[in-house]
Subunit: 426 residues, 2 copies
Amino acid sequence: MTVNIALLGFGTVASGIPFLLKENGAKIISAANTDIAIAKVLVRDEAEKNSLLAQGHDYHFVTDILDIISDDSVQIVVELMGRIEPAKTFITQALQAKKHVVTANKDLLALHGAELLKVAADNQVALYYEAAVAGGIPILRTLANSYTSDKITKVLGVVNGTSNFMMTKMVDEGWTYDEALAEASRLGYAESDPTNDVDGIDAAYKMVILSQFAFGMTINFDDVRHEGIRHITPADVKLAQKLGFVIKLVGEIVERDSGIYAEVVPTFLPKSHQLATVNGVMNAVFVESIGIGEAMFYGPGAGQKPTAASVVADIIQLSHYISKSETAPAFNTFVRETVYAKKEDLLDKYYFAIETEDKSGQLLRLAELFHAENVSFEQVFQDKINEDVATIAIISHQMDLNQFDSLSDKISNLEGFTLRNTIKVI
Amino acid sequence: MTVNIALLGFGTVASGIPFLLKENGAKIISAANTDIAIAKVLVRDEAEKNSLLAQGHDYHFVTDILDIISDDSVQIVVELMGRIEPAKTFITQALQAKKHVVTANKDLLALHGAELLKVAADNQVALYYEAAVAGGIPILRTLANSYTSDKITKVLGVVNGTSNFMMTKMVDEGWTYDEALAEASRLGYAESDPTNDVDGIDAAYKMVILSQFAFGMTINFDDVRHEGIRHITPADVKLAQKLGFVIKLVGEIVERDSGIYAEVVPTFLPKSHQLATVNGVMNAVFVESIGIGEAMFYGPGAGQKPTAASVVADIIQLSHYISKSETAPAFNTFVRETVYAKKEDLLDKYYFAIETEDKSGQLLRLAELFHAENVSFEQVFQDKINEDVATIAIISHQMDLNQFDSLSDKISNLEGFTLRNTIKVI
């Protein structure tokens, strides 16, 4: 038999799919228990269709989604257009037509995943999306299948390749943020508007999806605190190094007695931490659990072939169920009611970089402020920036998130002081 | 419904199973689609049974395997006794009685896996063994389920915790082999006879199993070249560090045009390699493939809870199929005819540590010998050990395995020279 798939979009990732289907034909047929054929490919318009035909691609290109939705021979729809619309409408239509769907669209899943999964369940079909988090790392399927016996307490992730590439340059080469961004743009890692990558938004989307697989809870995107790397200076990086840390943009999800919490923030990571050597555009997800203990899953976060490999693995699994006439199980079956942690249950150490006039008594004012919040200093460093301005860098003892927010607020509002940066310390 | 399991053996790992079943009850029931109960536990004799009862364990202990084999209510047998016999006989009997089997017994699987898998297939039941390789790392299921779309070209593994703990001490602290072994024994990491761990035998067993999942081929255990860490000296470690390497015992499986090859040998790893920071008793498997590219899976290689977590994940998956009355698929469906690589297709650089009389002309004799084999030096270091003896350390350019074997042989037989050590360079 043959399982027919339709691709929505024929960009970089999509065009990696035929490569893998051909290169690994025998292995794929044996795993899927069937042959897999690309029956139709949706492109934007006639111009794109003609251009692709002229390049020698001999697929059955269509420009109307209904040509796919109404085609009963198409059993799996593979959405690789990205963005929210029209992807959301097309996926919904495909699911309603009782076709399984595979997608790598993390923005869509983070914002509308619950709605789409409900449409899938209502129509007894499945929505798989291994490639949506950390492209080439098979992390979602591993959480869904191999952590069934275990209870995850913490997930740490370096899951945005662009910002990790930049932070690697800033740490290893001492580059400024602007230099690192320029190089990331030159190499095509950063888009013309880099906001999603450098401000932690992309990583926050991934935390939403990871929270479902690791904790069975769906954190709202708006509830994922996220802060980016724009304000990190060579001075921050240098001090971190002196103290045995590297700085990375790290996503974290934890479960405390009161519930779960997720954030994406710049983080001081000890050099001996497994995540500290995840460099360049590579991604990794570090998982702590009561059974396995500490584990890490490392690999490419994006790229044509890694992403296509994850997409095709989903297609193979669905094809296997189709070939056996078995119901495809939901991608993730771990579902609990979402309960958010109380801020007082979230304890961390922080680094504060504060600029102030270089005159006596300034450190005392900060010390009073910390003391009033019942937070003590672990280490303090003072550096002259120029004749008039000094930086005071403070590493605090543990405080809860209420204390951190209150302290940050008070320092920001303190006359004569500028809170340049705060970084979590692991 | 309830799926009944029977445990063979109630040692450290087995006693971790009830902990996980209880601690994660709700999650496990939802993933397995059924409750899971420990119906019977096989122990050695009445004395062990009475001792366990006295400790408060209220399982249905039995001392005769037939009490389990002939019990139709037992659907999964979990073998955790270790060693070859009677485990092999008991597993065979259980499979013949159409019970699924879960085991963590890597020695048994490496030596008799093909035979046992055939018995399982003949009886339409499954044999799962995630815990057999790198205890807590879900590597086998990941290779089986997520690499279906991909073609693996190389697997590198730090998969023996004892030897990795020792090498970490030898590298980080400059300890000798004997000092590291003494500490490993003191901490309970090394057995009274450490041969399997320090000579690469245990890691070679794991290469046999990994070869099946990663390459679909079964390498005979006797065909896995293995060499241990006994001969590594502080001088080797120091030179490695000077050149930017750490030394680890690394298992490697590669596929070349002519076929596959596996070995476990001491290896110079560049400090920037992801495996270089896998320290202590931790394990990691590094996978190179044409789709994903480079990925690494890191976690604990042994221990009660990590191993139990992998065993219970297998039990859950089998229970899911039982609950749905579906045929449990084989743990690994990727099978090709095993073809071994030709030695001339296996190219590597090597480090040679050679002791010789400290007199002129000795290096020249070595140079002639390498030249005769058509191998050139990349770097040469000479060190005085005492007044009469010098060490010559050579890092070669690439050579094939025939050249390496021939060179090693010739140096060993060269009058006045002792080949103290050879280490592969990655």
